[in-house]
């Protein structure tokens, strides 16, 4: 009892252990993905130092490498690549993103491919390599569109619109913005719509369509109201509207909007850059509006803020504004100082536009060197224009080439389909032709076979007729000989005998006796001739006139081969003269085939052939007592096939039955109704 209990416990323990190990295995798998996610999360944590975050990401990457190549691994890899981008780790980003790209391709994960293109677009955008940026956004757009992801394809269109705007292809940007807008849902994607309309506002501002610019900025603001994540977008829009008014020369309105933007007391904290921009712009508008009050400190304030946050572009603009201010104040030295500073800064940040502005400004200030400055200005602006044009061309080409590639692919695949369809139909037609030809040659063969058979039969018929005629001639001749003997010769011998009998012989008895002997001998000769004459006639009857005798003759000949006995009978009901030749010939041939088969295989001792007629149906049975065979097993030989063919030809039926060791019976029935004369 105790041992049983022990065993039971042991068993339970084992089971438990087994289930535990199973769970452990699952846990290991889970911990792997969990830990990867955790490390990625750590790498996103902005509280940690950049080095620690990088280290976490590396860990996540190495762990992820060990995972199976599946969609989970791919999504992890994509996250890692994105984090690498965020961490500004270019090398690591390129590596991981390329790996994600390859894996996506292997997994045929279209979303993955699109995501890697997006990442690359972001990456190049930060590097300000505009053509590559545009290219990858466009690729991403294509793949998102392929899987009908409206939202992401819209976002890619927007990114492309920004890229276009950055190379000053405003019309291109305008079109892409509208395309992006069409992809977004009015309720769900308000922020994206805000961005699009805002971009449109900036685009129209640059196209000097100020009315439209204001209109689109207002639409942007209306979408902004629907969003929860407002940030400092409103102030940014106000600044932009201010810029529009500024550019259109309406400085009063510009000032009003800048002031509106500055109303947000939190702005200095949340977006110091925008704050500086607003102050600077406000001061500049006021300056141009001939309101010089308080503007100098504001210019300097903005410059100070921008300098402190190392916003070089901002500093550059501040310097330009100050230069213009000092020029107005006729403080040429300070004006030159700031103009030259802005020139250097513009060169540093590759801001050619502001470099141009600075050059122009310098030419106005330094009247002595104005010629050189203007010349520099003109040549630079020319080269800039050229560059921009080249970039635009490149953008168009990217789109065009991809479109062309798609078109080419479509064309090729269409061509392929056409080739495929054409070759298939060609094949079908060819095989059809082949089969038709085959059928035709088969038909022709059958026809010629039938014709040959017909010809054979005709020959046979002719032969029979010929034989009958010969026989007739022979009979006729025998008849004639018989008659001649009977009527002519016999009569004359009779007359001679009589005459001799009545002769009054004068002689001895011996001579008389001899005479009588000769007369008697003559009578004997007469008798003999008569018998011969009769036999000649009688044999006419035993001539092969009967059909049965013809058949008998055939069987007799064949029976010699394997030495069987035979019995051929026909019912009284069979009137051979009334049965047409076709039936008779076919019966003859069938008997021939059957007897040949018997000779070949049956080893029969007795063959019985019987003909009978019942209700206008002729029955022919050919029976042997030979070996017999398995009808189901053996494929029909040529002999049986011929018999089948012949019965079919005369609308008859053919049944074969055989018992192994007992013999074979062929039963053939032929309707006579349509064949009798």
């Amino acid at each position: 009892m105790k041992t049983y209990l022990n065993k039971l416990i042991l068993l339970l323990l084992l089971l438990f252990a087994a289930s535990c190990t199973k769970n452990n295995i699952q846990n290991v798998a889970n911990t792997n993905t969990d830990s990867i996610s955790a490390w990625i999360k750590n790498s996103k944590n902005k509280k940690l130092s950049r080095e620690v975050r990088k280290l976490n990401l590396q860990k996540a990457y190495t762990e992820n490498l060990l995972q199976e190549n599946d969609s989970i691994k791919n999504s992890m890899l994509l996250k890692i690549a994105f984090c690498a981008y965020k961490l500004n780790d270019s090398l690591f980003f390129v590596k991981t993103n390329n790996e994600a790209y390859e894996l996506s391709r292997n997994l045929k994960d279209t979303v993955g491919i699109a995501d890697t293109h997006w990442n690359k677009g972001l990456f190049y955008s930060r590097k300000e390599i505009l053509d590559s940026t545009y290219y990858h956004y466009y690729q991403a757009y294509k793949y998102y569109k392929l899987i009908n992801n409206e939202y992401y394809s819209g976002r890619m269109l927007f990114n492309m619109a920004i890229a276009q705007k950055n190379i000053r292809n405003y019309t291109g940007s305008e079109i892409l913005s509208f395309q992006a807008i069409s992809k977004f849902d009015k309720k769900k994607h308000a922020l994206n719509l805000y961005r699009c309309y805002s971009n449109l506002g900036i685009v129209y501002d640059n196209l000097t369509e100020f009315k439209k610019a204001i209109e689109y900025h207002n639409i942007a603001l209306s979408y902004l109201k629907k969003t929860t994540d407002k940030r400092t977008f409103k102030e940014s829009s106000l600044n932009n509207i201010g810029l529009v008014y500024h550019h259109s020369g309406n400085y009063t309105n510009a000032i009003k909007f800048y002031k509106e933007g500055l109303k947000n007391s939190d702005l200095k904290k949340s977006n110091i850059n925008l704050y500086a921009k607003l102050i600077d712009n406000l001061a500049y508008s006021k300056f141009l509006n001939n309101d010089t009050l308080d503007i100098k400190p504001n210019f300097y304030r903005a410059l100070k803020i921008r300098d402190s946050i190392k916003n070089t572009s901002g500093v550059l603009i501040s310097c330009l504004h100050l230069s213009k201010y000092y020029l107005y104040k006729k403080d040429t030295i300070k004006a030159i100082k700031y103009a030259k500073k802005s020139l250097v800064l513009a060169k540093d940040v590759h801001n050619n536009r502001d470099y141009l502005v600075a050059l122009k400004l310098l030419s106005e200030i330094e009247l002595k060197k104005s010629k050189t400055h203007l010349f520099n200005h003109v040549s630079l602006s020319d080269s800039l224009q050229n560059n921009e044009r080249k970039l635009r061309d490149k953008f168009t080409r990217i789109r065009f080439e991809t479109d062309e590639y798609i078109e080419e692919t479509n064309r090729l695949s269409a061509q392929q389909t056409i080739i495929l369809v054409a070759s298939f139909s060609l094949l079908a037609i060819l095989s059809l032709l082949y089969f038709m030809r085959l059928q035709r040659s088969k038909n022709r063969a059958l026809q010629s076979e039938a014709e040959q058979q017909k010809a054979n039969e005709e020959v046979y018929k002719l032969l029979l007729k010929q034989q009958a005629k010969l026989e007739e001639g022979r009979l006729h001749e025998r008849h004639r000989i018989s008659e001649e003997l009977h009527d002519g010769v016999l009569g004359r011998i009779f007359g001679t005998r009589m005459g001799m009998g009545f002769l009054d012989l004068k002689g001895d008895d011996e001579t008389k006796a001899k005479h009588q002997l000769y007369v008697d001998e003559l009578q004997e000769i007469e008798k003999e001739i008569r018998v011969i004459s009769h036999e000649l006639k009688n044999e006419l009857l035993s001539g092969k006139a009967d059909y049965i005798q013809v058949v008998e003759h055939l069987v007799e000949e064949q029976s010699i081969v394997s030495g069987f006995e035979y019995k051929i009978t026909d019912d009284d009901s069979v009137h051979w003269s009334m049965i047409n030749d076709a039936v008779k010939i076919n019966c003859y041939r069938m008997v021939q085939e059957a007897v040949q088969n018997i000779n070949k295989y049956a080893q029969a001792k007795l063959v019985t052939i019987h003909f009978s007629v019942n209700d206008s149906v002729l029955s022919l049975s050919i029976q042997d007592d030979g070996l017999g065979f398995d009808i189901t097993k053996k494929s029909q030989g040529i002999g049986l096939k011929n018999i089948t063919a012949r019965t079919k030809k005369i609308n008859g039926t053919f049944v074969i039955s055989s018992v192994i060791g007992e013999g074979t019976l062929l039963s053939i029935t032929i309707p006579l109704a349509d064949t009798t004369i």
């Binding site: 007359g495 009998g501 009545f502 006419l540 035993s542 003269s577």
Partner: protein, 221 residues
Amino acid sequence: MHTYTVLIIDDHPIIADAYKSALLKIASENSTIDFSIEMVTTCDAALEKIRGKQPIDLIFLDMKLPKSSDGQFLSGEDLGIEIRKQLSDAKIIVATTYNDNYRVNNILKSFNPEGFLIKNDIAPSDLITAIETVVEGTPYYSKTVLKLLRSHMNNDFFLDKIDRQLLYELSIGAKMVDLPKTIPMSIGGIERRKRQLKEIFDIQKESDKVLVELAKDKGFI
């Protein structure tokens, strides 16, 4: 002394001569009888004599004769019928080589000769007996004819002309297809008749040959 007018119709002179010898022998042995003998060899000559309004007592008639020039008399048989019409008192002696029952029967039926001799049956003495018997007024049949008549009397069935003709044609080996040419019936009808004949002779499956042989035995052909 009584003189009998005799007409010998035979295309074979040697046979006619034999008849004449026989007649002369009778006349030489019997002084009360004398014969006035005339001989013809063709149908036409025979017809002339028959139709000559001269009474003829005894006529020897051959069965196998060339047909008359007008084509109406084909054989001795036709002449026999004509003789019966023209010369009702004439006694006819037929000597023929035909010994088949069909022919014999036909001859008996058509003009019933007083003397019926099958050539092979008789010796010269028989011929003399025949002539003497016929002249006396008694018919004389040679043994083959007698045999036939006897077998006929034993048969309890009757075969008509067509039956006999059919059997005869079969016996000489005529083909069924050709029969309608000689027998005025359709082939179907002929087949039916043949079947009936086989029933009469009590045979079923046996061939035509058996039928013909049986018919011969029974004296129909």
